[in-house]
């Protein structure tokens, strides 16, 4: 993560900053989070120039863009080129969601044979062109901020956009889900119920949603900063997950994030 520095606002007085939203391999859920800001959407749209946002408008304004929000992972040679064009045209680039930040669920191919995957789904594999891996945007270009989540939290998304447009640091904690869980005063599902929970190693942001619904965290916000997965794995094992079970819980929507890769391999 880097500081947004002097801010993304540009142009002369009276000019609105240009916001662009880009899609790569993804489910559209993270950009939908922008449209899900129902109460703030028109205010946000009034504060910026929506230069590029295909899901919302057929209007399009050429770059350079003050802020680009990027959804999705890189899975084709064409997209690997396209993200470089986006980077060149953007003063600040922020990834939104697990696909753009860690490769997404489609990165499960990274642990398998992609040709076999193509053959399993498509009758005519020769029509399909794809890379063997699904990779995060930061693997390809410099990224100014990564917003976690599958999907992102829309309040955090608004905070990040606001922060970048004002040239300040986004207030997005990089602690664990546990800290949010404690603050909400929830009963610890791991300690009290013996439910396997990735809360101790998972990036905050959801507001401890799963524990609030009597469910163990399943890691959809990806790894926190410096997670101690080495000490969590034995606990998960004691709570009844076998080696395959541990591999499965770390290999979901952020499987290609380094700490989760290692933990899955450790089993």
């Amino acid at each position: 993560m880097t500081t947004p520095g002097a801010g993304a606002r540009s142009g002369g007085p009276g000019l609105k900053p240009k916001l662009a939203v880009w899609k790569f391999a993804s489910c559209d859920g993270c950009q939908l989070s922008l449209l899900d800001l129902e109460d703030d959407l028109l205010a946000l749209a009034g504060a910026v120039e929506l230069a590029e946002f295909r899901e919302a408008t057929s209007g399009s304004v050429e770059g350079p863009y003050d802020l680009s929000l990027v959804e999705g992972s890189i899975t084709t040679a064409h997209d690997a080129e396209r993200i470089r064009d986006v980077r060149r045209a953007s003063k600040a680039l922020v990834t939104i969601g697990a696909c753009a930040t860690a490769g997404g669920v489609q990165a499960l191919r990274n642990f398998a044979d992609v040709d076999e995957f193509v053959a399993a789904v498509y009758a005519s594999p020769e029509y399909i062109s794809t890379l063997a891996t699904s990779t995060a945007i930061a693997t390809h270009v410099a990224v100014d901020f990564e917003l976690h989540g599958c999907p992102v939290n829309k309040r955090q998304l608004l905070e990040v956009v606001t922060a970048f447009l004002h040239g300040r640091e986004p207030q997005v904690p990089s602690t664990s889900v546990c800290t949010e869980c404690k603050r909400r005063g929830l009963v610890c599902v791991s300690v009290a119920h013996g439910t396997p929970c990735l809360g101790p190693v998972t990036h905050a942001g959801c507001g401890a949603l799963c524990p609030a619904y009597n469910r163990g965290c399943y890691g959809c916000f990806g790894p926190m900063e410096t997670p101690n997965t080495a000490s969590l794995v034995p606990l998960l094992r004691r709570q009844g997950l076998d080696e395959r079970g541990v591999e499965r819980v770390f290999r979901t929507f952020n499987a290609n994030a380094e700490p989760f890769r290692e933990a899955a391999a450790r089993g």
């Binding site: 559209d28 408008t57 899975t75 992609v114 799963c210 619904y213 009597n214 499965r248």
Partner: protein, 430 residues
């Protein structure tokens, strides 16, 4: 030498996902129509293999951020029917309520933000809001209510976390659900306003001729369960799907196209649902349909926006009924033990029929999976429709024809992210 025209849109806006369109004309006659889906494949059916059957709802939700509940529902329907579990009525009602939330959110998004701008000549809803702020705010309020239902019942609006094979992790209390009554009553009024608003739009002509396919369930407008029926006599259980429907892989697409075996192109989604099941709408929704000029069936592709409005009224009405009748179940879920075999599940995603099939072993590990999303099923119908629209309106200039073609595509609310296993609009005139 004949006059040749090519009209193309490289990257369609206001649809979910990445697609393009090409139309070629020669002497005013349509030579070629093509929807290209260049959304990169994500291989869900392949990556599900080796996963636990209990993970299928969470994993398949990620196919689509706009209709995750549809994926979760078809997944647990398939797996629960295989494992022989009966779901208690209060849990089923809660699932239907969650699904109503998704219909409200998705239809409001499509009607107001993706489709209405076509009828009114705007690039998008933000641009429309400058001239018609009250309408766009009404749409956003409707959408917000759908999201509130999903957030309360499902934990969050995108990729709900409270859904599991067997039921829910936590069942809300009746008191919690009652907080939805006021917003849903306001949403129902907004939905009625929506139907009146869109019924006043100008509609280009286009009648669909193909077979219509939807779920059917006695006594209710089918959403989360039912038999698969058509207007031409098809009436099957989900397990018979593969005997009647086939998927084909065509070169220009990362989506697979579906057709009915020996019968060809068919259409699923709001027009099919309304035409087959309108008599099971609530009296309020049916009255709204009649006031808007809809009859016993609707084959008018451009009036799909009116049908979505009617379904918005229904979804709000039905959600209110479910909230009123809700009694918190004794347990939020029933235990499901895996049974080796093949399970089949369907439900009515906002865009139409969504089919899932899973084969699992005795430990519950998924051996193979098949998922057929509504947009893949509708792609042939969409292309036929484009061909007819271009033929009928060939006198328009290139810009006008392209706009009309894009509008025609949006009649189907295509979800390309889903269909990958869908689109680029070019019109070429020769």
């Amino acid at each position: 030498m004949g006059e040749r025209r090519t009209i193309r849109t490289d990257y369609l806006a206001r649809v979910e996902g990445e697609g393009a369109m090409t139309v070629r004309l020669r002497d005013g006659r349509v030579e070629h129509v093509e929807l290209e889906i260049f959304e990169p494949p994500r291989f869900f059916e392949a990556l599900l293999r080796g996963r636990s059957f209990r993970e299928a709802p969470d994993i398949t939700a990620r196919i689509c951020g706009i209709c995750p509940v549809a994926y979760q529902t078809s997944a647990f329907n398939a797996l629960e029917s295989l494992c022989g579990v009966e779901i208690p009525e209060p849990i089923r009602m809660l699932r239907r309520l969650l699904y109503c939330g998704e219909w409200i959110e998705s239809h409001a998004l499509h009607v107001y933000m993706l489709h209405a701008p076509d009828f009114l000549g705007y690039a998008g809803a933000v641009e429309l809001a400058r001239d018609a702020p009250a309408a766009v705010e009404r749409g956003l309020a409707l959408k917000k209510t759908g999201n509130e239902v999903m957030a309360l019942v499902g934990g969050r609006e995108i990729h709900p976390i409270n859904v599991r094979v067997g039921g829910f992790y936590r069942a809300p209390t009746a008191r919690e659900l009652r907080t939805l009554v006021d917003p849903l009553e306001r949403a129902r009024e907004a939905a009625l306003e929506t139907v009146r608003w869109v019924a006043g739009f100008e509609f280009p002509e286009r009648a669909i001729e193909c077979e219509l396919v939807a779920l059917s369930q006695p006594g209710e407008y089918a959403i989360e369960r039912g038999r698969i029926v058509s207007d031409r006599g098809l009436d099957i259980v989900p397990a018979e799907y593969d005997e009647h429907f086939v998927e084909e892989h065509v070169e220009r697409s990362t989506a697979l196209h579906s057709r009915l075996r020996d019968r060809g192109t068919y259409l699923c989604g709001p027009l099919a649902r309304f035409s087959l099941n309108h008599d099971r709408l609530s009296p309020l929704a049916l009255d709204a349909a009649h006031e808007a000029g809809l009859g016993e069936e609707c084959r008018d592709a451009f009036r799909s926006i009116v049908v979505r409005g009617v379904e918005l009224v229904y979804a709000c009405d039905e959600a209110l009924r479910l909230v009123h009748d809700y009694e918190q179940p004794d347990a939020p879920f029933v235990d499901v033990e895996p049974v080796a075999g093949t399970g089949f599940g369907v439900s009515e995603a906002p865009r139409g029929l969504l089919y899932h099939r899973y084969r699992i072993d005795e430990s519950g590990t998924i051996l193979d999976a098949k998922i057929v999303p509504p947009t893949a099923q509708n792609q042939r119908a969409i292309e036929d429709d484009l061909r007819a629209v271009v033929g009928r309106y060939a006198q328009l200039d290139d810009e006008g024809l392209r706009a009309l073609c894009e509008q025609a595509i949006r009649n189907y609310d295509p979800c390309i992210s889903c269909a990958t296993h869908f689109l680029d609009l070019t019109v070429e005139r020769r």
